[in-house]
């Protein structure tokens, strides 16, 4: 599955547009507890644990989106956008990771 944030693909013919595909994942409040328990991970203001969790959530969202594209018979996703949104407050400082793009078939 080819992923691209561009509008078209150079030297490729887009033969079909399948529409919008999305993928979501959530980084839960438990991550913060894990972060506080692993203070030794904090080096120069960065926490490896935090980066790991964000990376994991991003992968989950992308995989979910790719699965949907595959189901539609697409072999590429263009105009890809990824956003991170802190839902905060009583929703438990959860971070919603959203990936979406246009599923296409190209040759």
């Amino acid at each position: 599955m080819l992923l691209s944030s561009t509008n078209t693909l150079e030297n490729k013919d887009i033969v079909k547009y399948h529409g919008l595909v999305t993928g979501e994942s959530l980084i839960g409040a438990n991550v913060y507890k894990d972060l506080f328990s692993g203070v030794r991970d904090v080096v120069g203001g960065r926490t490896s644990k935090y980066e790991e969790e964000v990376q994991k959530a991003r992968e989950l969202a992308l995989n979910s989106m790719k699965e949907k594209a595959t189901e539609k018979g697409a072999n590429g996703i263009i105009g890809l956008k990824i956003s991170y949104n802190n839902l905060g407050g009583t929703m438990g400082n959860t971070i919603l990771v959203t990936a979406y793009g246009t599923a296409i078939s190209y040759k």
Partner: protein, 288 residues
């Protein structure tokens, strides 16, 4: 005209009470003025708001006890309440004119002045809130609407619809299962189509949904429920976007963008927006 002894005594009592109330009010006003003068404030709150009614009540009660042997009900404290609320919140700082404290203070003053009327008012408000929350109010209004429409149809001979037309709903509806690619509009996150003809650009369209979380966080199960809700909310926002674009004859949305914003400080209300450019595309095998 000569007054009898009883009436004379009553008038004396009223005079003494008025004198005590006046003394209390003067003491309260002086305290408030002093607090304002030295700017006795914590976090923007002038302590005169609390001290002046206290001083007024204390002075009034002290003199009432001394001269009359009984209290006069700390009337000057309520007068100072009114004065400080009107001056502090409305005249001196009009940006704080209408808030919970102002309304609360005014309510206390009114409650002291006309308790029976205010209590009836509170009962009516409580009943109205309960009926609104439980949906009884809506049912009653629906019934009245039906009756009125039937009567109107009878009188005019014209058939009017008995159900109110549904207005655009921006609130999250849990029961809606939407397939975003089955809405009759081609959704694209790209700004243009490859080798496709765009007949007309119809402008920017937007679909939004307000979502209020019902799941307290910290439990894995609730996080899963929240994620499922967010997926549905997003689909509903896209569906609202498609509906408004389709009404104008659009069959495609370009540069579709999703946004998630937390609206209130406590973070319980999420506003999900889908917006994009509505276009009329020439029918093609590349999409349909």
């Amino acid at each position: 005209m000569r007054l009898n002894a009883e009436t004379q005594e009553k008038l004396d009592d009223i005079g003494e009470a008025a004198f005590c109330i006046t003394l209390g009010t003067i003491a309260g006003l002086l305290t408030y003025e002093f607090c304002l003068m030295i700017n006795l404030a914590i976090l923007g709150w002038n302590l005169g708001l609390a001290f002046s009614p206290l001083a007024a009540g204390y002075v009034e009660t002290y003199f009432a006890n001394k001269y009359m042997g009984e209290t006069t009900g700390a009337v000057s404290a309520f007068i100072l309440f009114a004065v400080t609320v009107v001056y502090g919140f409305i005249i001196a700082n009009p940006t704080l004119g209408f808030n919970v404290i102002t309304v609360g203070a005014l309510f206390v003053i009114l409650q002291a002045a006309i308790p029976t009327l205010i209590n009836y008012f509170v009962i009516i408000v409580v009943l109205a809130v309960i009926s609104y929350m439980s949906g009884i109010f809506k049912k009653i209004m629906g019934f009245l609407y039906k009756c009125w429409m039937k009567l109107k149809s009878k009188i005019t001979g014209v058939n009017y619809p008995l159900i109110r037309p549904i207005e655009e709903n921006n609130n999250y509806d849990e029961s809606l299962e939407i397939d975003i690619n089955d809405l009759g509009v081609l959704l694209l996150s790209t700004t243009h189509l490859w080798d496709q003809e765009i007949i007309k650009y119809n402008g920017v369209y937007e679909g939004k949904v307000i979502y209020k979380s019902k799941h307290p966080m910290g439990f894995e199960q609730n996080e899963k429920l929240l994620l499922e809700d967010m997926k549905k909310v997003k689909n509903q926002a896209i569906s609202n976007l498609c509906n408004s674009a389709r009404d104008d004859g659009c069959n495609g949305i370009l540069d579709l963008t999703l946004e998630y914003d937390i609206l209130d400080g406590s973070g319980t209300v999420c506003h999900v927006t889908a917006h994009g450019t509505g276009v009329i595309l020439k029918k093609s095998d590349t999409w349909n």
